[in-house]
């Protein structure tokens, strides 16, 4: 008797426990949250694709193709853009007229395709004039220390000639030392500046440009140079 009572009480309790439907917006919150976090994370990632006409500013800017090839200890190849992040396996900083030639870390690195990224090709959209590139290991210090390092780092001068739309600035061959990562793999910690070479791979660049930028005219090859001496700035008078 008492057992039966207990059973009916339990059933009543289970009936009471039947969940009323939660408002839809509450159910959607976790999904929205995950989506938002994913979007925030991906915002730091590199983009693959071509620049828009608006970005090229009706001829005021040019697409500058360049390639980076890295090796680490023992001449082992090291993929420069393996993570497709702002601070990738190597980091780019760029100085221009606006910065008085002082390098500032570039935002998103951009690639034509995943294959070309793996091969070390990237591109920049730059106004005509002089630009100063610093290629460094990824930033692993506070921003002040990194800025100070950038000021002392060797620079490469990239010249974007007036009226050029498509420029190949050369292939940078760099060698450096690396550290093990806790998560596996290696990360570059320093670059041996005296072993850095600028190589002309114009034929490969032409092939790549023909496939991706057929409307931008002839590819001009203006190889970047090791920069020494005064920073040359070029900009029209105000």
């Amino acid at each position: 008797m008492s057992h039966g009572n207990a059973s009916s009480q339990g059933s009543a309790w289970r009936n009471n426990r039947r969940r009323p439907a939660l408002p839809r917006w509450v159910c959607g919150l976790p999904a929205s949250w995950i989506g938002l976090m994913l979007a925030v994370h991906l915002a730091g990632c590199a983009s693959t694709g071509l620049p828009s006409q608006a970005e090229l500013g009706a001829g005021a800017k040019a697409v500058v193709l360049l390639r980076v090839q890295c090796t680490i200890e023992g001449g082992r190849p090291y993929e420069p853009f393996g993570f497709s992040m702002v601070d990738d396996n190597v980091s780019f900083s760029l100085g221009s007229f606006e910065t008085g030639g002082e390098p500032r870390q570039t935002g998103m690195l951009r690639f034509l395709s995943p294959e070309s990224r793996r091969a070390g090709w990237t591109y920049l959209v730059l106004p005509h004039g002089m630009h100063y590139l610093v290629v460094s290991p990824p930033r692993r210090t506070d921003v002040f220390t990194f800025d100070a390092m950038m000021k002392r780092a060797p620079r490469f001068r990239i010249e974007v000639p007036a009226h050029a739309q498509l420029v190949y600035a050369g292939t940078l061959r760099i060698a450096g030392e690396s550290d093990w990562l806790l998560t596996g793999g290696r990360i570059m910690k320093s670059i041996r500046g005296d072993e850095t070479r600028i190589v002309n791979e114009q034929a490969l660049a032409r092939q790549l440009a023909a496939g991706y930028f057929p409307g931008l005219g002839d590819l001009q090859t203006v190889l970047m140079r090791h920069h020494e001496g005064p920073v040359i700035l070029r900009s029209p008078l105000p």
Partner: protein, 158 residues
Amino acid sequence: MAGNGFHQMRARILIIVLACSALLPQGACIMLPIPTPERKVLQGKPVAPEQLAFLSPGVTTGKQVVAHLGRPDVIWEEARVYGYNWVMRRGILFWAVGGGYSGAAGITEIPNQHVLLIQLDRQDRVRRFESVVRPPLKSYGDFIKEWVKDSGQTRAKS
């Protein structure tokens, strides 16, 4: 009714947890700037006012400028402007940043960006010169452009 209360409570807890986790990536920071006299050179080679005594607008040539002051740090070709840059320490900044489960703190030097700008004319003679401090929030490009724009309106200084 009791079940409704229970689930409303769960919904509230869920919202609070989400709101708290949204705050996790946010950082808090403390910064304490302490001004110091400008004695320490952080970058470049300072140019003292007495070193500019040789400069005479319309007389001194670009070659003489380089002979006296050395190679400029920056040359704006179109405007024929030479820039000599140096950075002095004008203070110390104590900073501490915390966010999520980590934090960092340190001391950094507050820079004062000095620039000696010398503009030459078409005959390669000094047209105008001025030793100035670049505002920290103004880019080098904007600053130098404004200076050149003003050069038409300002008399040469000596």
